[in-house]
């Protein structure tokens, strides 16, 4: 039972992260692999405030959200300077940078990471599986609602134009940069909040917890579930978080589990690319036109 609850916590957290990736890539047209770094930033700030600083939760949570927004806006600033392909590759490097920074910062435990005590809110422990599961699932619900609201808003409509043809968007009076920034601020907030939930539940943050592997996984979830729809992230997270665990019931030996999981992810991705590029629920998201850079 406790294991199931743990799964739900991970499902909720990763679902929220995938939803953020969907907002950036599916709505904003910005494909970033920096999510684990932004997530890590939120988690580390949470751990630092709740641990060594013994700060209250009502300070730590907004701080994590703010850091998430800030970190994702830095990513947005870099996106505006680089071509799409260069940018995606550059974000893969974000985690190395993040890990190097936190591993060398003694304030947050350096290479050993930071362990924090249990945190209680109104008598409920944030690291108790039931509480954490409830919080994580609430965050997931919130992120789906946010994506849904965004899609139907005028910002969402403007983003659809920006995503496909930024030059056209500008000639129609749409401030393409401001729209992208707004989307990435929203997704950054979600990622920061997810970092808070993670840190307060696991009670431990470490430079190696937030790597490129996790970032790629998050993007895969968003893509597999379907970019451009609010439910896609949920489906993707369900597929990539819950399904591998289902393998255990098939009786695979624990020793090969890690490798098995990578094989599973790889096969799933290949299957999607071949059979259903739009993802489970996705509408096909058009790439920016190749002639976009010229103004003819």
């Amino acid at each position: 039972m406790e294991y199931l609850l743990h799964l739900l916590v991970m499902f909720g957290i990763f679902g929220a992260l995938a939803s953020a990736a969907n907002i950036d890539a599916g709505y904003g047209g910005v494909l970033s692999f920096a999510y684990a770094a932004v997530f890590g930033a939120g988690a580390y700030v949470t751990a630092y405030l709740l641990g060594p600083q013994s700060a209250p939760v009502w300070l730590a949570l907004p701080a994590a959200v703010a850091v998430g927004i800030g970190a994702n806006l830095i990513v947005a600033a870099i996106a505006s300077r680089l071509a799409d392909g260069d940018f995606a590759v550059a974000t893969l490097a974000a985690h190395g940078l993040f890990a190097a920074v936190v591993a060398n910062t003694d304030l947050v435990g350096g290479p050993m990471g930071l362990q924090i005590p249990q945190v209680q809110v109104g008598g409920l422990s944030l690291s108790s599986p039931i509480v954490a599961a409830a919080i994580a699932l609430s965050l997931l619900t919130l992120s789906v609602a946010a994506a849904y609201k965004l899609q139907r808003s005028s910002l969402g409509r403007a983003l659809r134009v920006v995503r496909e043809d930024a030059v056209l968007a500008r000639s129609l009076g749409i401030d393409a940069s401001a729209c992208r920034v707004a989307a990435m601020a929203a997704s950054g907030a979600l990622v920061g909040a997810a970092g808070f939930v993670f840190a307060s539940y696991v009670q431990f943050v470490h430079p190696d917890s937030f790597t490129t592997r996790e970032a790629v996984l998050i993007v895969c979830m968003a893509i597999a579930g379907g970019l451009g729809t609010p439910w896609g992230a949920v489906a993707g997270a369900a597929l990539l978080v819950l399904l591998p665990e289902g393998l255990r019931w098939v009786g695979l030996p624990a020793a090969s589990e890690g490798a098995m999981r990578d094989i599973l992810y790889g096969s799933l991705l290949a299957a999607f690319v071949l059979l259903r590029p739009a993802g489970l629920f996705g509408c096909f998201v058009p790439a920016a036109k190749p002639h976009d850079t010229t103004v003819r």
Binding site: S154, R157, R160, D165, L168, R170, S171, G173, V295
Partner: protein, 240 residues
């Protein structure tokens, strides 16, 4: 700066190592102006400068007294300037009603929601003769139909200034009156239309003023009959 609708003073634009425009000065107020010239003479560059998509290397360009070099492209559009492109820019994956509705901002709609935008879009599609294709996905449209979709966007915005890049190229002649109508509607409201065109008959029909460019320089300006019959101007086109 004076309050001329559009004013270019000694404008020079250097793009990719080439002088696209050299020392171009001109001013326009209202009505319909056609820019003609050989291929590569800088005609589209003029439109790109006026819509804020290309920056000047030298000189100044202003709209209603406002210096364009300080205004980003989307804000220029919001000043009431609509433009079309040589190769139409269409959102391939949505229907053409959505394509036209996308041109309407919240201020245009005055607080009304998307359904008002769709209603206005459909009215404009009817004005250009595409009403039967309103729900059709844009990727299936022909070149000429796409030109008409961009024209519908200009129609729906009721702009003060319209910048049209080759509005009839690729269109069947039976559609020319539709384009002429949209142009005259902008002018009738006291606005200014600047169009780039190679079809001199169409130019004679709609333009009140013609400006000729050759190799980035202004080589003639005046009434259509004058400029289109000016031997010196045509000679400077150099068989190109």
């Amino acid at each position: 700066m004076s309050g001329r609708t559009i004013e270019l003073k000694n404008v020079a634009v250097r793009l990719g190592g080439v002088d696209a425009l050299l020392d171009v000065s001109a001013a326009f107020d209202v009505g319909v102006v056609a820019i003609i010239g050989p291929n590569g003479s800088g005609k589209t560059t003029v439109l790109n400068v006026l819509s804020g998509l290309v920056r000047l290397s030298r000189g100044s360009a202003s709209i209603l007294g406002k210096n364009l070099s300080t205004i980003p492209a989307h804000q220029i559009a919001r000043m009431g300037i609509a433009r079309t492109f040589q190769t139409s820019r269409i959102l391939e994956w949505t229907d053409i009603r959505e394509n036209v509705a996308a041109a309407l901002s919240r201020t245009d709609l005055g607080g009304n929601g998307p359904s008002e935008a769709y209603r206005l879009a459909e009215a404009s599609l009817t004005a250009v003769g595409l009403e039967s294709l309103a729900g059709v996905r844009a990727s299936t449209l022909s070149f000429g139909e796409r030109k008409l979709v961009e024209l519908a966007r200009v129609h729906v915005r009721k702009p003060f200034i319209a910048l049209l890049d080759e509005p009839v190229s690729g269109l069947h002649p039976s559609k020319f009156p539709i384009v002429a109508d949209v142009i005259s509607q902008v002018a009738a409201r006291g606005g200014l239309v600047i169009l780039v065109e190679h079809d001199y008959e169409f130019v004679r029909e709609v333009a009140g003023q013609v400006v000729a460019l050759s190799a980035g320089r202004l080589v003639g300006s005046g009434a259509p009959a004058e400029v289109l019959n000016d031997r010196a101007v045509l000679a400077s086109f150099g068989g190109a």
